[in-house]
Subunit: 326 residues, 4 copies
């Protein structure tokens, strides 16, 4: 296919995006807003937005792409990267494994069933709390600073903390406190429980848009290289490891199904965000041969904690455009 024809096809496809967003919004009633963090329950169930970030610096956007939402579990990807960059991969993996579990994100059973109770992966709460505790710095502020610096190097700004969401999380974080105290006892927590939870929950409460997480996805798609700033933001091996983790563990205990039917590295949050990415692949005829990042926001959540409308939209796009990495 010539470049011109490709562009034509590409444009036609993009034109269809608004229709798709409208179509998939109608499934919102099959899901519901996350309710265990009260502040999240106020979201507009029917919002759905997408932003696709290309390495050229241009973006393709549709629907409620500009609505701010909190990172929630998407922050697990970013804190994991920060820990790997600052502590080294082997240091991190000595303290948290990279195995998917099939269990709910807040499950505590494995910490007792498997000795010595090493968290199975950093994409579930037990693992992410462990990661938060090992960030450099001897205060929650200095630990958070490391993550904020990484985010700034990727999206050119520091996200706001949604104080209302953070307070809501802080006051209802009983299960996360249970996990943290369990990890404290088994020796996997490297900082005090309250300090660690402050870091963990503040990261969950950072506010972004689909454009922000699409940019992060795009940089991961390029193995940590920022193609617009022309700088290697994080080491290639950390980016690769992160993408592997996203495929096997990124979509809670629906990660296997997501890999099977969407086939892209992705990480979701219960606020309705999905950070996904398409690695460059010239063999495919799709318009994103050079790789892209995808940010999605749709607060109608399914039984696993993933954006119901967002997953449906992504699945459709992945199949229509043949994006799957396999």
């Amino acid at each position: 296919m010539s470049q011109a024809i490709k562009q034509e096809v590409h444009n036609q496809r993009i034109d269809g995006l608004d229709k798709l967003v409208t179509h998939f919004r109608s499934f919102a009633t099959e899901g519901k807003c996350a309710s265990y963090i009260p502040a999240l329950g106020k979201a507009n169930l029917f919002q759905l937005g997408i932003c696709i970030a290309l390495p050229t610096g241009s973006t393709i956007r549709s629907g409620d792409w500009q609505v701010p939402f909190t990172l929630q579990s998407i922050s697990k990807v970013i804190s994991f990267i920060t820990a790997c960059v600052t502590r080294g991969i082997s240091y991190v993996l000595d303290r948290v494994d990279v195995e998917p579990t099939g269990d709910p994100f807040n499950s505590i059973i494995r910490l007792e069933m498997h000795k010595p109770g090493k968290p199975f992966n950093p994409m579930i709460n037990a693992g992410a709390i462990t990661v938060a505790s090992m960030l450099p710095g001897d205060s929650s502020q200095s630990k958070l600073e490391n993550v904020n610096q990484l985010i700034e190097s990727m999206i050119g700004k520091r996200p706001n903390l949604n104080e209302e969401v953070f307070q809501s999380e802080w006051q209802t974080a009983h299960r996360n406190r249970a996990l943290a105290y369990y990890l404290k006892e088994t020796g996997f927590l490297e900082a005090e429980v309250e300090e660690t939870l402050e870091v963990y929950l503040k990261l969950c409460s950072l506010e972004v848009t689909t454009e922000d997480i699409a940019m992060i996805g795009m940089i991961l798609a390029h193995d940590g290289y920022h193609p617009i700033q022309h700088v290697q933001v994080l080491p290639k091996e950390v980016a690769r490891l992160t993408k592997a983790l996203m495929i096997t563990c990124g979509m809670y205990n629906a990660s296997g199904k997501f890999a099977a039917f969407v086939g892209l590295p992705a990480k979701s949050g219960v606020s309705g965000g999905i950070l996904a990415l398409v690695p460059p692949n010239k063999n495919r005829e799709h318009p994103f041969q050079d790789g892209c990042g995808i940010g999605i926001y749709g607060p109608a959540i399914d039984e696993f904690g993933n954006s119901l409308t967002g997953v449906k939209l992504l699945k459709h796009l992945a199949q229509e455009w043949d994006l799957c990495i396999f």
Copy 2:
């Protein structure tokens, strides 16, 4: 890089393969032959072989590539494909999920813990036994025939049944019988227990070489298309689904670590075989840009049931040649 230089680099790399095989053989003492099936315990711990099948029809081979071994769990990939082709994907997935578990391959706990006890994925024993039961045909012979036909369409011949291994498996299959009877009670088994186990264990006992499984891997790398016979052996969507399953569940409860550090769809068996594959990717500088299948045999098994020397060899090759799919 010009084609000529590429070829030169390629050849130099291949020349190093023999040295690598010799090097990684020396780690065999860190593993041991699978002992729970007595006949497997007789293998030569120090054997290690590899075959890489290219879409041109040529192969790159080193070490004990020609030693026959039984498929064991590698057959789970093939029976799953056969079930999808003959029954349809949705029929199969109604009866077995595609979620990784983090549990040992022969674990029975989840069948009771999760109602209604649907097996989590077809790459662990509970799921593969379920798959064996839903193969078309009302006898073990006719069920097996379906799988054999698929294999023949891929490697041009039907593998022998290793009768000694089969008898050894049959007589010691207590745990698999426990799984099968459990599945019978919960209604997931579609045939009688003994008939199903005969199918399951005979598939485990089929004898292949690294060349055979490399060819299967190569066809999966090409989304089910047989580039030498110029025929679509299995539907693209089945191939894609299978590769996703191999990434998330293919290496037992070390699948996450394998995805993280090797990054290729693969399926292992306790006999020491690994079927892996590299999808075509012109963006990479590696000699297998057009995709390849990789067959490995190394009977020194690690704690998870994977070939210890084989995984080390694959990890080295994946890093040296930048094969990772992410």
Copy 3:
């Protein structure tokens, strides 16, 4: 209280038994007949009968006391006693523990979770299957013969095998086969699976009346001494051990609640039978100071597998007559 007044009080109390049986029958609709063994589903939900066997040889009987029913799990008490008598207590306890679990009677989880997988107690299926396998004799017939001899020594006859129930159990014993094969693999089964299951299920299918099991209870109440035949049918230490097991594990995963609110050693079966007993205790004012056995039959089963109407009746009697052993 003089003997004459005592007898008067006694008689008045017994006169009330018929009214109680009628009263508690009305709760039958809160339960249902066991359905997992098809033949048990045919029982009359509203039947309720009781027999109290006194050491004098007299019995107090009310309601459907004469309706034959199959022992089901009540046989677990008898096979355990037989194993202890024939193999010795320490031999038996090396192969099965005496710890309550809080799990359903047919649970398999603990066999995998706890190494080396020793069954937790002989009152749940895993333990009772293990016990059946260690009965003396190298055929199912000779194993059964040992149990039948013991029963005969207690009730003066051999119970009939209900062939219809046995066939129904045999054909639907998938979960028990799963347990048995699991135990075969872990080395706890001392006979072949099919032989063991034949013993186990035939014991479940022995037909008795409340009078038969009341007599067994009465002998256990007297520490194994048969006060009518004037013979020590089983060693005192086996009787004591058995009664302890009945208190901690006899009523499935409602054993704790039964101990708390009834307070008598008892064993139930899903057919609706309960074998209970009151040890002699002169400190109490109740009419059964010299000990008694109680047999109950009420096929309306609760969520735990115990006779719903039977437990209500027993609880009432235990409180009214102050029978509790604590």
Copy 4:
């Protein structure tokens, strides 16, 4: 037997107690002091003492009967009684079940596995923390006051708080905090976590001697009646329920074995204390026909958390004197 002969036999038996204590002390090296609470690790492994409290007011004492030790889990019995007396049995049992589990005392798995996560019994940490939260009063002080009043009514004084042990527990109570936060999330905790833990851990840190707990056991043996003060200290039905709980759940996950081989209601603590009791039973020839309480202290702990030397001593006495309640 005449009273005089009985007394003679009694005295001879008691004379042997010192020899028994000396004998069973020698097994102390098979156990070890509880180490998870640092302050407990300082105990003298070889101490062993016993006090038997009779309803006449006299006591039989031997060995290190006067050494003070902290109640630890023995407090679970007392807080449970206090909750039942102040809140009512049905209020308490709506929030905590009375089923034994076979799990370690600090296990968290069941809270997640069973919905809605009601603790299985008040003799394990999860249940006892729940009980502590429901004691009347809106401060830790007022909650503790209720328990202290009950204790005072039984032993005539208020035990000291061992401040060193409490501080040691407080600082290392990570697992208990995990349990408490988990219970907070599932709604079973009726007070704040820190307040509840202060109550729970201060109760664990109350200092007693064998004489104190023997007196409590003696009152339980008499169904809550204090035979020396001639007052009903707690309702009979609460005493009965408590004794049932002690038999099924009192000795951690060795409760079944203890019921089988000792056969007395008892509760142990990891400090090495055991509170046991013998209900009155005129049918037995033993010197404690009228019931007694038994207090034991032996800080050499076995794998389950029970006093190794204490259990051996109790088992011997129970068999020699035929104390078993069955």
